[in-house]
Symmetry: C2
Subunit: 319 residues, 2 copies
């Protein structure tokens, strides 16, 4: 049986050209680039809560890092490094090899180095902490939305939620749609390049992990403002085209796991926002306006108010 130290050495010890010191000491060491701030985010993924116990380990490795990189993207930070703490029922080598493959393939794509962590025995639990760099003062914070800002969303919404609905048999999907939507759920791509391109363009940003209504709500609360969203303007994912309007709206407003960016920018920045989207190959769609009146209001394209039934996903409330 592989010991903890063997496991670390075999799967998780890699060259770290950027870090001053990687896996294998009491601490890792990063030497910050002068004039930058370090952005830090930590997410824990638990079997049965965030993923099914029989989840494909390569996809799970990918997603575990992707959700953390998405937090860096939402600050406009450039990924630098991460730590991995992993609790496993037993040291299952094929599982570990596939998990490490998914994890480290995504890490390599962003030059984000595995610099440390911990492996231990216990129920399957994955805790990743990521580190990014950002020029001092340039972070896209949640508390920086201004009255009059446009509200934008990247990419398409609701497809990950469609995948979950298919897996749970809430909706009957054809095989091709099911397979594509499940991949949106399992293999999100963090919008890192877009976040960096928005550094001097957007005011506030968040990633859409718990559903647009809930996540935009965090920007509103932290910024002390309100908003109106044009529900008909939402970039509903094309995989939802066969679904009734109620499902399309609900999944786009409150489906979680999209990992797109929701951000605000002044109207004077519209061309710059579109340019940031073009340069990074990501669609960006204007979906609403930040207002002084607190609360979130929904309308259709004609400005007619809609009822807000959507609520945010919450790990301690949802099943």
């Amino acid at each position: 049986m592989l010991s903890e130290f063997d496991l670390i050495a075999k799967y998780f010890t890699r060259p770290t050209p950027n870090a001053t010191l990687g896996v294998g000491d009491d601490c890792a060491l990063l030497t910050p680039t002068p004039g930058t701030q370090i952005a830090i985010s930590s997410d824990m993924l638990v079997s049965g809560t965030h993923f099914f116990a029989n989840a494909e380990p390569k996809l799970l490795g990918h997603k575990s890092l992707a959700v953390n990189l998405s937090d860096l993207a939402a600050m406009g930070a450039k990924p630098v490094a991460f730590t991995l703490a992993l609790s496993l029922p037993k040291p299952d080598e094929p599982w570990l090899a596939a998990f490490a493959d998914g994890l480290l393939s995504l890490a390599d794509l962003y030059g984000c180095e595995l610099i440390g962590g911990d492996t231990t025995r216990g129920p399957l639990n994955i805790c990743i902490t990521v580190f990014g760099e950002i020029p001092a003062g340039k972070a896209l914070r949640r508390d920086a939305a201004k009255v009059g800002d446009d509200i934008w969303v990247s990419g398409a919404l609701g497809e990950a939620r469609l995948g979950l609905a298919g897996m749970r048999n809430e909706l009957a999907l054809d095989a091709a749609t099911l397979s594509a939507a499940v991949m949106r759920l399992h293999q999100p791509m963090p919008r890192v390049a877009l976040g960096i391109a928005l550094r001097s363009v957007a005011n506030a940003a968040i990633d859409v992990s718990d559903g647009l209504v809930g996540d935009l709500g965090h920007i509103l609360a932290r910024s002390g403002v309100g908003a109106t969203l044009n529900v008909d303007a939402l970039p509903v994912g094309p995989m939802l085209s066969e679904q009734p309007q109620e499902v399309r709206r609900r999944f786009a407003l409150s489906g979680g796991d999209d990992y797109e960016l929701c951000f605000t920018a002044p109207p004077s920045m519209r061309a710059a926002v579109l340019n940031a989207g073009n340069e990074t190959g990501k669609a960006v769609t204007r979906v609403g306006t930040i207002e002084a009146t607190h609360g979130l209001r929904l309308t259709d394209a004609g400005g007619v108010p809609l009822e807000l039934h959507a609520t945010s996903f919450d790990h301690f409330v949802a099943a």
Copy 2:
């Protein structure tokens, strides 16, 4: 029932005078002091593996952070901030209040700010990542021991292991000894001040979390050297005074959870090492020598070789 966001706000959102941005955004932001490196360590504590499921939550909060601060101490880094990812079966408020009390009391003692993290539902699991600062190039690394260095240990060894033996009924202890030894197990104090005082004095350092033999072994392996330890010189904790020699030696050599520092320094630094101990109120004891011949040799005070039965604690091998 408290939602995830309520929990974070109630127990874990605090002022962060040192961090640029604390809990509540996609990422926390640290602004590094110019000329410093960031030391990072991540540890995961799992119910049933690292602590008993009915562990007193205040002590558990203390220990969860203490083991991470101990890693900073072993690098000579000054604690700055930490993230907490916490998985809980249910949002149990009295448990959380006590856990937060133990955790944050220790954090306050070291000016180490809680800047972010994650709470989620699942089997009890605590993952903390700590951040420290150290002047560039001054870190006490495991790979820096030199042939001829003295080997030193801070404080006393084996008492945490005695506490575990008492709890497991491996040994019959009187009530006062049991109680004191169990507190050594549950409430270790990281040797932060000593680590900082050793920055320009010691060559290599590690914290004794898995037992002296195993942890010193990491220094030897990473530095490409060997060592001889004088077993009779080991600072065996006074709580072990009633135990037979075999137990005293075994617990001092391979009992885990002491969270003392083991470090190496050239003989020319003996006065400086003793001074660092004096200034920080920590005993430091010279216990051996780094040698060119690989492997670890044990002798008694007369230089007579002893058999090495002790092995390091390993989470995937130990029960």
